[in-house]
């Protein structure tokens, strides 16, 4: 309030034209415009950050969705099968057979590039596991001539995608400059082609020396079961707890204590929830290790405060007159809450759920302690119960492990995994977002 404007202001206003804004109003409108601008700027800033992040995620992650494969005709004789199965490391033997077959095939094709079996070994990825399971799945295939699509090694894959170039490649036991000649020749003949990598979407984790075989699918399933637990437990429990505290609990030091406690739980580092989960669920309750059920329980505890805090805030925001109106016609407290207050508080509850689940979905640290981070490459669960109880990983854990692996090919996988995670997140939230729009109203 400046002196110039005081006291004289109303007098000056008196009878002034509405079509000409007086100086004070102009100043206030300036403030208004600025305020509005801040709002717009804040939003643009948020969206800008989102865009930058999205672009960098997509740019780094998109290559994970394709891979280069070699198509090879291959016959495994009965004797070879027996021989391989008698070994300790059977897969290595299959791999050798396959590489030999490919070498022969390439020799027949008459390439004018010099190569040997070692070259082939470096070009082709780890294939033994795939081949063995192919034949084990249907032993009749032994002896038949089959055509297999097998991925090339991670570095050749990188070369084809442009991540590895002849300039930055130094000869190593993983790949040499000379090998690339053969790769180029094979590409010219169409023997190597780039395909959509379904295996990435459906597969499970692989050993660190086999980036080509790594897939996010199994951990998507793990995350799915975990989020199911989180959603089914944290939303009802969170809402129920909030309703009790906000609508029913007497106001005393004890409920104050609960209130403070809940907010405080939100500030507990997530890894501490992991410590708790390990102690309570695994060591005390003997639930299985590395299981999505336990992960879900731990994340539920972590998500609860978020949901409770937002639910309470939105319950508080419902005007008391609504409650009075309901009580006045003879509704019980419970009825007034469930019929009137809760629907009006729904947008905030759903927001809490969206944010809480988003946080839970992306959380790694607590999973570290209950054994879901690391190498958990299990088959898909056989059923719903196994889905909860069988060891599995989760998307963020998978991404985290990939990101720390030495082979740069895994780096790309990690970003690809992040894309999958974000798609999962959006899919998970879409229902809540639509519901929230439905419930929004002004009164």
């Amino acid at each position: 309030m400046t002196d110039a404007s005081t006291n004289s202001a109303p007098a000056a206003r008196k009878g002034a034209s509405l079509h000409r804004t007086d100086p004070r109003t102009r100043r206030r409108n300036g403030a208004e415009r600025r305020f509005r601008l801040y709002g717009a700027a804040a939003i643009s800033m948020g969206l800008l950050f989102l865009c930058v992040l999205a672009v960098s995620i997509i740019r780094s992650g998109a290559p994970a969705f394709t891979h280069a494969v070699v198509e090879v005709e291959f016959t495994l004789s009965e004797a070879q099968f027996e021989e391989a199965e008698s070994q300790l490391l059977k897969t290595a033997v299959y791999e050798r057979y396959f590489n030999a077959a490919l070498t022969a095939q390439l020799r027949d094709a008459g390439f004018d590039v010099a190569f040997d079996e070692n070259t082939i070994r470096r070009i082709i990825g780890k294939t033994g596991g795939t081949i063995r399971s192919y034949y084990r799945a249907d032993p009749d295939r032994v002896g038949e001539s089959v055509t297999l699509d097998l991925p090339v090694s991670s570095r050749v894959n990188g070369y084809i995608k442009g991540r590895v170039t002849r300039e930055n490649l130094l000869d190593s036991r993983f790949l040499t400059q000379a090998d690339l000649d053969l790769v180029d020749a094979m590409r010219d003949r169409g023997l190597i082609e780039t395909k959509f990598n379904w295996g990435f979407l459906t597969g499970k984790d692989s050993g660190v020396d086999n980036p080509g075989g790594a897939g996010i699918g199994a951990s998507v399933v793990g995350s799915f079961f975990m989020m199911l637990v989180v959603l089914v437990l944290s939303l009802p429990i969170g809402v129920a707890a909030s309703i009790y505290l906000e609508e029913f609990a007497p106001r005393n030091w004890f409920t104050d204590m609960i209130e403070v406690n809940i907010s405080n739980l939100a500030a507990v580092p997530s890894i501490v929830f992991g410590i708790l989960g390990l102690a309570v669920f695994i060591q005390f309750m003997h639930l299985p290790q590395s299981a999505p059920l336990v992960g879900g329980l731990v994340l539920t505890l972590m998500t609860l405060p978020t949901i409770i805090i937002s639910t309470r805030a939105s319950l508080k925001a419902v005007p008391p007159s609504i409650r009075d109106a309901a009580l006045g016609v003879g509704a019980s407290k419970m009825q007034s809450v469930f019929h009137h207050v809760l629907p009006l508080a729904m947008p905030g509850i759903l927001t809490g759920t969206i944010i809480g689940l988003a946080q839970a979905l992306g959380e790694t640290a607590p999973l570290l302690l209950i054994g879901m981070v690391g190498f958990v490459a299990r088959q898909y669960p056989d059923g719903v119960v196994d889905g909860f109880l069988d060891p599995n990983s989760a998307m963020p854990a998978q991404i985290y492990t990939w990101a720390s692996r030495a082979d740069p090919a895994f780096y790309e996988k990690a970003w690809g995994g992040i894309i999958v995670l974000l798609v999962f997140l959006l899919a998970m939230n879409i229902v809540a977002i639509i519901l929230r729009r439905r419930f929004e109203r002004r009164w």
């Binding site: 948020g46 809940i262 405060p305 809490g352």
Partner: protein, 487 residues
Amino acid sequence: MPVLWLVLIVATLALGGFFAGRRRALSDAGGDHRRLHSLPAYYGWNAALKVAVPAAGVLTVWLLAQPLVVGLVVVGDLPQDVVTEGSSMDLVMSEVRRTVSGLEGAVAAGVMSPEEARSPLLDAQRISEALREAGQIVSGQLPQPVISAAQQMRQLDNAGDWLMSGAALAAALAGLLWALRETGAAFRARNAVENGLRAVLVAAASLAVLTTLGIVLSLIFNTVEFFRIYPASEFFGSLTWSPSFGGRSELGIWPLLWGTLYISLIALIVAVPIGLFAAIYLSEYASRRVRSVVKPLLEVLAGIPTIVYGLFALLTVGPLLMEVFGNEGLGWMRSGTAVMTAGLVMGIMLIPFVSSLSDDIINAVPQSLRDGSYGLGATQSETIRKVILPAALPGIVGAILLATSRAIGETMIVVLGAGAAARLSLNPFDAMTTITAKIVSQLTGDADFSSPEALVAFALGMTLFVITLALNIVALVVVRKYREQYE
């Protein structure tokens, strides 16, 4: 009877109870539900609950107790010498249990007749054979006592299962009878059901207390252990944090605490204004269409895994800041990882925590308050600042508290963005680290797990817990003081 079946039967009974209770109440009122105390459905629910809750209780208790009881009986009958040196009864018992499930599998697969499975002549040879045939996993040679114990356990389990089914069904039926007997036109079914519901609400609220208790308990022992081997005066008094494997560590909390506060502060300085202004814009200025698109988009920021933010800090923001504040620029910054880097990036992550929830709360402020203010010739921004925000204060404080909590609990961004240096400095362009980051790193580190370097993680966790508790009490008091209850 498999548990699933039992559950299904109880569920059916509950459903039946629902209709029976309803019917009975209605018939007692002569078919005119206006003469009932409560809505007919409440009588149904009352009956359903009285069927389901006792049965579920019996079932849960039984399911928890039976393995214990059976285990005790079997253990009691086992000869002492089956537990070999270095092993434990626990392991023997898990072997017994595995054998039991193996036998079940073998019988189910038809490789072994039920009689044979019970036969005292059954030996390890035959079991391994049968199990292998049934496609079960076999490990080693089973000692004879284990096999007998397994057979005994099967029998007990079997008997127990039947008893359990009986007990659960009896409980369900008793509940049903009880409910039907009390059902009558004047019976206060709504009150009964609501009391049940209220118990559920209380239980849900107590879970938070239990969690807190659990956290305190899971931290306290190791914290005490830590203070036993490392002086508390040093922990709270020393200004240096330098753990070392040689056992000459200095583990002062202050640099970490300072880093935590500093980074959180910067994150909040970024997130709160942006988030709040975004919320205001969304709820007060933006059209419904814009709002319904932008809000979920901003929420994606909360869902991006923190490792992405960490890398973003390390690879993008850090170098960017270096260009301005680094040696080539103002010369305040020595490396890309700094409090500023981590704070900025964390702030971005926290935007939706502030914006989304605040938006909902602001939106819930009654229109009549806005009208009142506009009617006095206030501009929209004056209305927002002076009327709406104060009215929405509890929710906004809640949102900010949530963001603060998240900032304090964040690790990945700190590790990648702020560096790992524990240092007390005022320069926001210095590398620092936080309590949480150190909890994680000491917990997953390589120091001997019973050494102070590892145990300090628990003490740090406990201290942080106490500090945030104080913070929350302050917040509660502030909200109480400034809350403006509308209507």
